[in-house]
Symmetry: C2
Subunit: 409 residues, 2 copies
Amino acid sequence: MIKIALMGHGVVGSGVAELLEDKSRELEHKAGETLSCAKILDLRDFPDTPYADRFTKDFNEIVSDSAIQIVVEAMGGLHPAYEFVKACLEKGKSVVTSNKELVAEKGSELLRLAKEKNVNFFFEASVGGGIPIIRPMHLCLAANQIDEIYGILNGTTNFILTKMIKEQMTFQDALLLAQKLGYAEKDPSADVDGVDACRKICILASLAFGRQIYPREVYTEGISKITLEDVEYAKNAGYAIKLIGQAKRLSKDKCCVLVSPAFVPIDNQLSGIDDVFNGVLIKGDAAGEVLFYGKGAGKLPTASAVVADIVHIAKSSHTSLSLTWEDSNADSVADISTYENAFYYRLRGSISPKKAEELWGPLTFLSRKGQPADEIAFLTGCMLQARAAAIEQKLGGQTEILGKIRLLA
Amino acid sequence: MIKIALMGHGVVGSGVAELLEDKSRELEHKAGETLSCAKILDLRDFPDTPYADRFTKDFNEIVSDSAIQIVVEAMGGLHPAYEFVKACLEKGKSVVTSNKELVAEKGSELLRLAKEKNVNFFFEASVGGGIPIIRPMHLCLAANQIDEIYGILNGTTNFILTKMIKEQMTFQDALLLAQKLGYAEKDPSADVDGVDACRKICILASLAFGRQIYPREVYTEGISKITLEDVEYAKNAGYAIKLIGQAKRLSKDKCCVLVSPAFVPIDNQLSGIDDVFNGVLIKGDAAGEVLFYGKGAGKLPTASAVVADIVHIAKSSHTSLSLTWEDSNADSVADISTYENAFYYRLRGSISPKKAEELWGPLTFLSRKGQPADEIAFLTGCMLQARAAAIEQKLGGQTEILGKIRLLA
């Protein structure tokens, strides 16, 4: 029998408790041992759960119990999750987490510690909820150099953008609907501003490039400035606007990582990924492009990824299968000004198409129904971000930039 | 150092040799040990390869060499692949194969043998080439009951259908082009008749339902009867015709498994999977729908899946991680006559729409440009295959069935 402790009994934690209980027979068959949830740490009381007797408010009851072999961290946030996880690994317990902030900020340290202690630190649930991504990248694509990753990593923003594209809802209305349906938090900034997507692309990039990439190193732009006008110009030109997390290998030691809305061509697989679904495209030098798609959040999908990590640890008994990546060298993420992209611009003012082409070079002009006489919209050619910024400086005060969105490169 | 032997130096085998050679440093880092290709079995001569010295024509040199821990079988076909793999497992060697026929016909036996000998029998490359599917299903979806799998499992037929749909090429012309490009064999029947897709859905179904499903138990229909008229009717009604392999859990002991062309709604993720790409959708009771997409064939993608299996075995040293499934009970696949589906029909003759509705019930009639006066096409409601067959018997001699295709259910 393998004794498991859960830390955090919120959405994910309670889902894990449920799956361990409801599927105990099947899981025993797959893991080769009984998986028993022995302790649940939460400061709140849950008198009505069938396992009310197992709750504790004292972390020491978990970390000091040498019979507990696997600890699930589903508390979220950096503190005290980090301290608790570290203490558990130090005591020789394997840890499974769904906490993307923890992995994005402390991954290399915790992975190294797990390796030292010959235990596992797994986090399949931290990216893509129930979609298998981390383990396939780590195990199944082991013979590949991963050159590029890009994906729709946040279901909330994808839901909002889908409503804007398919039902001409404004950003505000779509956000309200997402909140009503429980897809968005009351304070939606972590989703809407791209913070959540940023943590996820950091985890995938760290895994792909073998070195910790911190969220603070990554240029991150949210979706709150996207308007229905932008959506319509995009649609008329054969694109869908999606919030894309992207990581590209530039050289052996340098990569480009960013999160921003992007014009995605409709013949790209990602353009058809709608609502709360996520999709991640991984380009390997041998396997080519591989895409993983599914529900990126939700109680049971995410909990099922946590439980799969538990089963994997149970099956492999005392072999440390943990992946590793190195510390950041504080220099692996290239500066955003050096990235190349084509751009969509929407301008209002006195600028003429001819004048715009003098500034940006040859352009593809876009149109929409009811387009005002003083509005132009166009796609530029590929250029350095720094050059695009320099051109914007040359616009006179009579011209306002109403929209600027990258094209997926 | 882990010594590896390759059996078969065709497309996949030579790709494996290449990857082991070219990526030796990265693979050593990932596996924790040097992976060395010690022997290559092939009846042909390859004097110009950099590892010409390692070739042998004698299987005994592999099976009797106790230093060889992992054997890759990339010969294809059932014999002597089966005998060779069995002998290697019996000698306590782990085996990695890309041979779908072998796994579809002999999976349960070889898995049981591997388990007995505490070694691994892995076959990630047997389905979906370089796309991770087997391991994600087995490991990452371990907390799920898999209720349904359906997918585009054969790149050659998907290429042909894509050419028919997007470029109005006839089946014959598209097949010729596929042969010219090396996507189809000179004798294309294994692809075109659905045999290859059938082996793959059998492997996935065996893994999902825990019991060997044999190709001979599975109703299999190819794409050679699909015409441009069918493609046009489908497109006008919002469908793309795809060759779909499908497996559904009907009850604890019963499943439905089939391979056939199907009308796939254009808002289904599979409808956008074109050319030689594969896509597999897996429905779990916790994770919901998860889709895996990528190149389903090709030298390096397939070889990279084989090498990933090798790395996994090397990492896990002596722990047997092999999945298992049980023998067939010869009764787990339900009879095709009991499956329910809606159908597309295209009829020529004296039958009127009114008469057709008398026979099939309420219908959705389809149209195409240049539709002859004596041709009707329609979609039926959902019905038992047996009922559809019975209705067809009632058609008089004046009405000919020109096309009949399932709707994806």
